[in-house]
Symmetry: C2
Subunit: 346 residues, 2 copies
């Protein structure tokens, strides 16, 4: 109990630090602040994927979002707040998409930006950041290495940190993706039974839990079996660092859930599905062939969980396709590595 309480205190402190209390109203406010600054991404349907899943899937295509992932939502809000407060520049660590998002937001506010990525980051993500004019620093392969580098460089540059997990603006912003999905399907008269969200550092699932308040919808997390950080945190009742195995889902490699997201999500998540690597690869391929969408492995992890479990969740299941920044070479190998088309379910 002591540990659980400590986590709640951490979450509360984080919220106090940033001057924002997180509830459903924050998602609504975030949506209004973002209006006209991001794409309204579509909810895509595919009869083929429905047949594979045994349920109707409603795919929130945030791979089509600015910067190629939903992370631009939170980054725009967080950087806006810092810019308004007179920031000299921003720095963030990330496996890639949060860094792309922060670099885009910094460019819009004419702030210099430094982004710290792992040395094994997807090259396409590094390239996207450099295209904005921001600086990329590579640091180790684990979260602790990146965090240490951010601490070191923040003081050198005098920059403000845009934390991908502990910043309430970021969490509220990420939640707007799920809010749009729930709102759009409800407007069609299709109340979703569940929404499946990938879990990396936890901002997506925490935002989804906030967005789901007021809806009768189960929030389901999906994480790679190779990096079961949320599953471990639920078991230990606090974020813990897990030994990360290899996963193609580079965006879900953080081996520890953020304290703020965990505090928000742990009592609200209905289920966490761990997904094995072959299923992630197959879901990415199915999105390509059957939904004509280019998604990255993190998004494919959520889709894989939905393809395997959606029928158990209900008749209508949302999936947050979180991003589309995938290595072309990885997609090519997945496409050509499955030459036998005949085994696929129609």
């Amino acid at each position: 109990m002591g540990k659980a309480w400590a986590q709640e205190a951490t979450a509360f402190s984080a919220a106090e630090k940033y001057g924002i209390r997180l509830d459903r109203g924050d998602i609504d406010r975030a949506e209004r602040r973002l209006a006209g600054r991001i794409w309204r991404t579509p909810v895509v349907r595919s009869e083929h994927l429905d047949a594979l899943a045994g349920a109707r899937l409603w795919l929130k295509a945030e791979n089509l979002q600015r910067g190629g992932s939903f992370k631009v939502r939170g980054a725009l809000l967080a950087v806006e707040q810092l810019a308004t407060a007179g920031s000299r520049g921003v720095i963030a660590q990330s496996t890639g998409n949060h860094a792309i998002a922060v670099s885009l937001a910094a460019r819009e506010y004419r702030l210099p930006a430094t982004l710290v990525l792992p040395s094994d980051a997807a090259p396409v993500k590094i390239r996207r950041i450099r295209e904005t004019g921001a600086e990329v620093v590579l640091a180790g392969t684990v979260l602790a290495d990146r965090v240490a580098m951010v601490e070191k460089l923040r003081d050198v540059h005098g920059y403000d940190v845009v934390d991908p997990y502990e910043n309430p603006h970021v969490v509220a912003g990420q939640g707007t993706a799920t809010a749009e999905l729930l709102g759009e399907t409800a407007a069609k008269g299709v109340p979703l039974d569940a929404v499946v969200v990938p879990i990396g550092g936890g901002s997506a699932i925490a935002g989804a839990c906030l967005a789901a308040r007021g809806y009768e919808v189960a929030v389901v997390g999906a994480e790679p079996a190779a990096v079961p950080a949320f599953t471990a945190a639920l078991r230990e009742r606090q974020p813990v660092t897990v030994a990360a195995g290899h996963t193609i889902a580079d965006g879900l490699r953080p081996e520890r859930i953020g304290a703020l997201p965990f505090g928000l999500a742990r009592g609200s998540v209905a289920e966490v599905v761990t997904v094995r690597e072959p299923a992630i690869a197959e879901a990415l391929r199915a999105a390509f062939l059957d939904a004509r969408l280019v998604i990255e492995p993190a998004a494919a992890t959520a889709l894989a969980a939905a393809l395997s479990h959606a029928a158990g969740f209900g008749t209508d299941v949302g999936v947050l396709l979180s991003g589309g920044n995938v290595e072309p070479g990885l997609v090519a190998s997945l496409l050509t590595g499955h030459a036998d088309e005949s085994r696929r379910v129609p």
Copy 2:
């Protein structure tokens, strides 16, 4: 003049035969008939593609449509009419997407269907048709071979032909894709300066010309330089059969424009762009990397024309991304055949 008149007479006869006069009102009626039966596909934006084009591109993502292309629109209307009239079954020739669309529509109306494709048709398209339970017949590699096979089999089976070019229901249905694009952008307060549409047999461009009536928008056609059937028809003032070179744009291989589409489009098309093979390949790759969309080479032909010429058309240019039924192996080879990422424009 005599020849041009003859073509007009042919177009008129076709319209009379099917009991439908084609004008802008037919597009509106087609939209109402299709409501709820097709996906409302999104209009996708990409800042990267805008930068490449030098204009804002509005991508009508019909690769996300049912059956993977806009052709389901016309097929549903044409097959509905035949089913209502007591048809025993349907037969159609196509390079692939019209055949997929007819097979889907036939399944909905519980009609047997036979589809005649070229022997070099994309395997993914053949597979999609067989998944619906329809019969596939392969016949030669040129339009005349497929038409002859349709004539032969229609009498054997007692089926009704769903012509991909000369059927006004088909043309009106295809026009609804452009109508949605023009309507959605106008509703956003963005009148398009031009809309770029791929040209195969001509139903897309003819439908676009109908849909554009009442808008101040230039309708631009795009066809492979290897199969310049519309360019040749404009020069000869009537559809002519051209010697078809090889193109990866399998959907644009018909080497002759239909008489009905030509009659509708020739006086309304502002410009026809012929696109060379490397540009088609590069546009397909750009759609993948920069818009996260899987498109087939026919759609990439329109995108390529827009990337090269949009700045000359105006500030806001629509593109009909007609379909996404592409061979995975072709995409893989295009992705890995361009290993040097650094040469790309940000």
